[in-house]
């Protein structure tokens, strides 16, 4: 993905209006049962043959291949970058993943390793995953990532402040990090597993979007539950309402817990039916996952050859 093209696209759309910032205490209410019903319509969609293959290739191209461990080393990151570049040697026609996602101190290494490939480097920042630090530290963390060459920054919101009702604080913090990002695209992680209710997910989504998020993202992957279909549905609806309001597209990234192709296809179907065609690209939709890629590869090979292959034919990096 090319950032210049992205900027041009936004300019080309030409219908962007800056919408008024709403009162976040009054964000739309969400009915959990109703969301569940919508999801049950999505999960009963039967995605077969051509549609499945096409969907799987899109998914592969939307994955942010991720390693976010205390035990990450130069070796681990270098192996991950290799995996990103050469997903499956026996089928070279496959699309690449969208990005690799690492901690800030590995960004420059990843950047170098991926030089010349279309793969972006995303970095988590802002005292990931808890976000329990001062704004100064978070800005410094963001700058570290950006200065090292990160194309995308995945920040976490201050969930504690959010629960205390300090929505303006959360908003300002996101806006400040956005500014520190410069031209890097900002993904805002809501950590929905800590928000407790879909009403809150919607509120946090609106705060993030209006504060300048380019993407909103469900989870760090460190808290269970991570991404779920209902939570993603609510976030996509927030994106849709903002689009109705302003004409500006915001991206979506469910992360954590999406480890098989079937589930990933259901997410894609949810995007298609909620936001339509324009969002079906890695410009606007991503999966944060580490093990999803291999399952997708396995399914693609199954569609191509007619047989399931052993897991040992797919590289584990």
């Amino acid at each position: 993905m090319d950032l210049v093209i992205f900027a041009e696209q936004q300019a080309f759309m030409g219908k962007s209006r800056a919408p008024q910032i709403p009162d976040f205490r009054l964000t739309p209410r969400i009915d959990q049962v109703g969301v569940g019903e919508r999801i049950s319509r999505i999960t009963t969609r039967s995605i077969k043959s051509n549609a499945k293959l096409q969907g799987l290739k899109m998914i592969l191209n939307m994955i942010d291949l991720t390693t976010l461990e205390g035990a990450d080393t130069r070796g681990k990151v270098s192996q991950l970058c290799n995996k990103a570049k050469f997903l499956h040697a026996s089928n070279p026609d496959l699309p690449t993943v969208a990005a690799v996602c690492v901690y800030p101190n590995f960004v420059s290494q990843a950047k170098k390793a991926l030089l010349g490939s279309p793969i972006n480097v995303a970095s988590v920042a802002t005292a990931f995953p808890a976000g329990q630090s001062s704004l100064d530290v978070k800005i410094a963390d963001t700058k570290l990532a950006v200065d090292n060459g990160a194309d995308e920054v995945d920040m976490v919101i201050s969930r504690g402040r959010f629960h205390q009702g300090e929505y303006n604080y959360v908003f300002d913090e996101i806006a400040a990090v956005k500014e520190a990002c410069g031209s890097a695209r900002l993904k805002v992680i809501l950590e929905t597993g800590e928000l407790g209710a879909l009403d809150k997910v919607r509120r946090a989504s609106d705060i993030a979007i209006y504060a300048g998020a380019d993407f909103i993202k469900t989870s760090t992957g460190k808290i269970s539950p991570a991404a779920t279909l209902p939570v993603t549905c609510v976030m996509l609806e927030a994106i849709r309402d903002y689009f109705y309001e302003s004409g500006t597209m915001i991206g979506m990234k469910p992360a954590g817990g999406i480890s098989n192709s079937k589930l990933a296809l259901q997410y894609l179907m949810l995007v298609k039916e909620t936001l339509g065609d324009a969002w079906l690209s890695n410009q606007w939709f991503r999966y944060g996952a580490s093990s999803l890629a291999n399952d997708v590869l396995m399914q693609i090979e199954k569609q191509r050859t007619g047989n399931y292959q052993s897991k040992d034919y797919f590289s584990k990096d």
Partner: protein, 487 residues
Amino acid sequence: MGKSPTLEFDSKWNLSPAPESTGHINLKEQYDLFIGGKWVKPASKKYFDTINPATEKVLAKVAEANEKDVNRAVLAARKAYNEVWSKLSAGERGKYIYRIARLIQERAREFSVIESMDGGKVIRESRDVDVPLAAAHFFYYAGWADKLKYAFPNRNPQPLGVAGQIIPWNFPLLMAAWKIAPALATGNTVVIKSAETTPLTLYKLAEVIESAGLPPGVVNIVSGAGETGAAIVNHPDVNKIAFTGSTGVGKIIQRAVVGTNKKTTLELGGKAANIVFEDAPLDQAVEGIINGIYFNQGHVCCAGSRLFIQESVKDTVLRKLRDRMESLIVGDPMDKNTDIGAINSKEQLGIIKKYIEVGKKEGATMYQNSCDLPKKGYWCRPTLFTNVSQSSRIVQEEIFGPVLAVQTFRTIDEVIAKANNSPYGLSAGVWTDKGSKIFNLTSQMKAGIVWANSYNKFDPTSPFGGYKESGFGREGGLHGLKPYLNL
């Protein structure tokens, strides 16, 4: 300000066909009447075709019962009542009903495929709604069979005798379950008639009844049109009439039973108000509106066909509604991904088209989704009309198709007055985040069923039935036992 931003759903990622297979279906070329536990040829010597409305192909020939046939069926039912069924212990009765329920579950796939072939409804609904709910009704009423004295304490509940039952074409198997299960549980025997366009699953149910070993004559099944129904209604040895269908026919039945001892329940038409307040969870309300009107192609007596949106959120709701309509798939009912199937019959399609023309002539603004329709078969795109009022015919009259009439309102009193301003009173829906508003509104609605923040939810434990010209009597739940008992 430029053109308002639009979402595009004309997809670059389209679903591949995912048809449910029909190879396992075993349909006879010709169905005779099921009377006294035997398959008998009709005295009328007449058969009519039942077709698949999605392909216009003939599925089978079905016997047309005349007065003589109905008389035979009633005699068989009376004999079974006198000699077997009324002498059986309630616990034994319950066992038979449980057996029917289990057999429906076992043959669920077959039932849902035939239901979709014969009626045009999508396989997703027949598989996930019609057939499981039908089985659930039998399970539920089986449990009541030996507990009637506890259901009506200090009374002496006694069966009526022979129940004559007439069911509609929109939910054939499910309506048969609604009728047969409580009748059997309360100790009555049954003569039941299917609708002209959808006789097949009722005859499949006859096969289930056969294999359940139900004593001959306890359930007798006939098919035919209005005259067959009239023969049941007018038969002097029938003790109870249960009818689900149009208000027009309901009125004829009501006239026919005047001065007789027949107990009656009528479940008739509707023109339900679905009310969306500004504080509602709007995205979920939109899903409920879709489910309320486009479920089963709108062939639902309790369909939410009059939408009332609080004026402050009108534009938002309509925009979301149109976008959701764009993602609905119309077409082959057998495809697992189809959302809206075929209109049940050519005749019904004619009625729906007539109303769409009426709406346009009355100056209403029409919106339909932009999908392609198959060449053969009977189809209607999901449709909504704005710019209508209480004085419009498409607001007043039941269309029984995927056509929604949208009005706005300002206050709660206004919307209650408008919602009740209908000769019908079967169901209603209300969407709001405020609990007190729900209770205020539901207590003032003249409707038998009011759904709050949901729509078209059915459960065997819950009574169903109407006010005013939507009929009387309740089906389902404890209430559903009463119309089949002398207390």
